[in-house]
């Protein structure tokens, strides 16, 4: 194995909370406090108002590899990048990077609003370490990539935020780095440009550029990186193939999970409350949380009424943590009792159970959560009671390996072109099975 491009060796980084000694008053006060015995803690320990942004983190990245750094906010991801970009120095341990480092850390950092696009390209590129000649040579490429040919003589203060980011990315992408650090940079800009950026980064990956990517966007990390590390509160929680690390992260984000949920807490202020949820095998009626794509599922919702209500609407939907991480609460399957004209009349103290039967889950491999609730009717916005992620399902699929969330039953077929007949050939036919109903 060749020598790693990046070595992160038992790195510790300490930060102080608040604005320690930003003014001279604090600076003079500190030694006096020390004299009075309320001194600072010994070096090497995180004392009052200090915390470890990174605590004993070690990893290596081989040439041409892409590492995804995953973790919740404040877990030390950006600190990791800043240490790699040598803006920060570790308090303990060491960081070693070999090669020209390019950083997609803040697009257009250093753009001056009063200068034109052209002037800013030269300014920003020289900040990123390009020489004058090199910039001149690449100028047209940069402008073409940003698709801003008509706006280069306009001060960038009149640019939209998308244009700003595009120009910033275009400049940063043409630095020809050997090591590329990518922070959450593509949250602005339209999808077309975003894809173009991801495409550009994949080109980097192919041309043996070593990358470290920090992103909350699972799809991007998955597309770009082979390996991943999971940080939490400055500690490295796991490392390995990026898919595994991502799964571990998203699983840990979800609640208690399992096939059963029950709550005995009385919620007297609610007209009706959900006391339990069970996921059962559709055949034998046993508790179950691991399903195959083709299997059916029975969901039981237990309720207790505290007031008199007539025909409340129960609902359940299945949420994919993978999708909801990037696009909000993505409902994979919704259902409600009202559509089935269930006649539920509740008197105070009534208890009961409603059952939803899913013929086939038709979900592809991964973790899913089921959220259940009850509301006045199908159209009301507020609900009486709702249990977020009441149960967790683990689906394994042998059917499709190509990714995606929903399985739609379909057939591929072929018809050979008949040269004798003057007919338009059907090259293939897409057939949707009648019993696959997808409600989104």
């Amino acid at each position: 194995m060749s020598r790693p491009t990046i070595i992160f060796d038992r790195v510790h980084k300490k930060f102080s909370r608040g604005l320690a000694s930003d003014s001279l008053r604090d600076a003079f006060a500190a030694p006096i406090r020390k004299l009075l015995g309320r001194g600072e803690p010994a070096p090497g320990t995180a004392g009052n108002g200090e915390f470890w942004a990174l605590n004993d983190v070690s990893f290596e990245v081989q040439p041409g590899e892409a590492l995804g750094v995953i973790g919740p906010n404040g877990s030390g991801k950006s600190t990791t990048l800043k240490l790699l970009a040598r803006i920060l120095r570790p308090d303990k341990g060491r960081v070693a990077v070999s090669g020209r480092v390019g950083a997609l850390i803040e697009l257009g950092a250093g753009f001056h609003p009063d200068l034109t696009g052209r002037e800013n390209v030269f300014l920003n590129a020289s900040i990123l370490g390009m020489g004058k000649e090199e910039i001149r040579r690449k100028y047209d490429q940069i402008v073409a990539f940003a698709e801003l040919e008509d706006f280069m003589d306009m001060p960038v203060k009149w640019y939209s935020s998308g244009m700003y980011a595009r120009l910033g990315f275009a400049v940063a992408a043409h630095v020809d780095p050997e090591v590329l650090l990518v922070d959450e940079v593509l949250s602005v800009g339209d999808f077309a440009f975003r894809d173009k950026c991801i495409e550009k980064m994949r080109e980097f990956a192919k041309s043996n550029v070593t990358m470290v990517v920090v992103s909350h966007d699972r799809l991007m990390v998955e597309k770009l990186c082979g390996k991943g590390i999971l940080l939490r509160k400055g500690k490295m929680e796991s490392a390995g193939p990026v898919r595994e690390v991502l799964d571990r992260y998203y699983t840990s984000l979800s609640g208690p999970g399992g096939a059963e949920f029950s709550s005995e807490a009385s919620k007297k202020n609610m007209p009706i409350q959900i006391t339990g949820v069970k996921v059962l095998d559709s055949g034998k009626g046993e508790l179950k949380s691991d399903f195959l794509t083709s299997e059916g599922m029975t969901l039981q919702i237990f309720y207790r009424a505290n007031e008199k209500i007539s025909s409340p609407c129960f609902f359940s939907y299945i949420v994919s943590p993978t999708l909801s991480a990037s696009y909000g609460a993505a409902i994979v399957h919704g259902s409600s009792s009202e559509r089935f004209k269930l006649d539920i009349e509740c008197a105070p103290g009534d208890e009961g159970m409603v059952e939803v039967r899913y013929k086939a889950l038709n979900l592809l491999g991964g973790k899913y959560h089921v959220t259940v609730g009850v509301k006045a009717n199908h159209f009301s916005t507020g609900e009486y009671d709702k249990v977020e992620k009441a149960v967790t399902l683990t689906i394994s699929s042998a059917l499709e390996q190509g990714g995606g969330t929903v399985f739609i039953e379909h057939n591929w077929s072929i018809m050979k072109k008949n040269l004798q007949q003057d007919q338009r050939p059907e090259i293939h036919q897409f057939q949707q099975s009648n019993n696959a109903k997808i409600t989104i």
Binding site: S21, S23, E106, G129
Partner: protein
Amino acid sequence: MESGNVLNKTEDGRQAWREDVNGYVSTRPITAASRFSELLKFRALLWTLAWRDIRVRYKHSVLGVAWAMFIPVSMMLIFSFVFTKVVKVDTDVPYIIYAYSGLLPWQFFSSSTTAATNSLLANRSLVTKIYFPAEVFPFSSILAAFVDFLAGSIVLVALMAYFAMTGSSINISWTVSLIAVVLFVQVVFTAGVSLFLSMGNLFFRDVRYIYSVVISLWMFSSSVVYPMKVADPRIQWLLNLNPMTPILDAYRDVLLKGKVFDAASFGYSAIVAVVVFLCGWALFYRLQHRFAEKA
């Protein structure tokens, strides 16, 4: 500690770790040579930033670079009124050129250092995001102020030509070429002071406000608009410590009086300049990795 082994364990001689400016190990001590080569690599940036400052400064003003002449000229007129009509001050060259030849380099010094004080904070989006030798910011402030200085020099040359032709008591000779030495010492001193101020302001935001007062006091303690000999003899020893006075006097010696600057006092200034610069630079390097936390 055996943390050093990580780098060595994959060492196979042929693929030695790249020790050039690109390959970086965070805990490796910084040598003056490696930093200097790094700074050289970024010299294009120095020009670009200075040019940006100039461009932004004059982009929306009608007079443009003429402002660079307007400020010292108007100050010259004010002080000429004060020190020839209100209070009489004895100078061995006509007062108007005495004042201008002091105000122009002083303006260069004060505007460089004032701009440099805020330069790291003003560029915090860069300082906290991208690595490069951060002293390009204070240095580019000096470069930008130097352009103003050059523009203002046109007026000085015109004044010198006028007084030389009207046969006043100024004497222009070969010593004019020594201006390069004087200017060099001033730039070194300015750079040293700028490094300290820009760092200081990053760690203690008060520095900027304190310096705005200090710079006025400093001006009136230097031979900008009157010679130091008018001051109270009891504080002469204190005023002699000021390295700016010999520099300003040296400008007048070589430009207006046709003589070489006073070796002793100018030599003192030169030594102070070099010491301040080297200390400032060394400290700047030691602290640079903390800038991102402070900005």
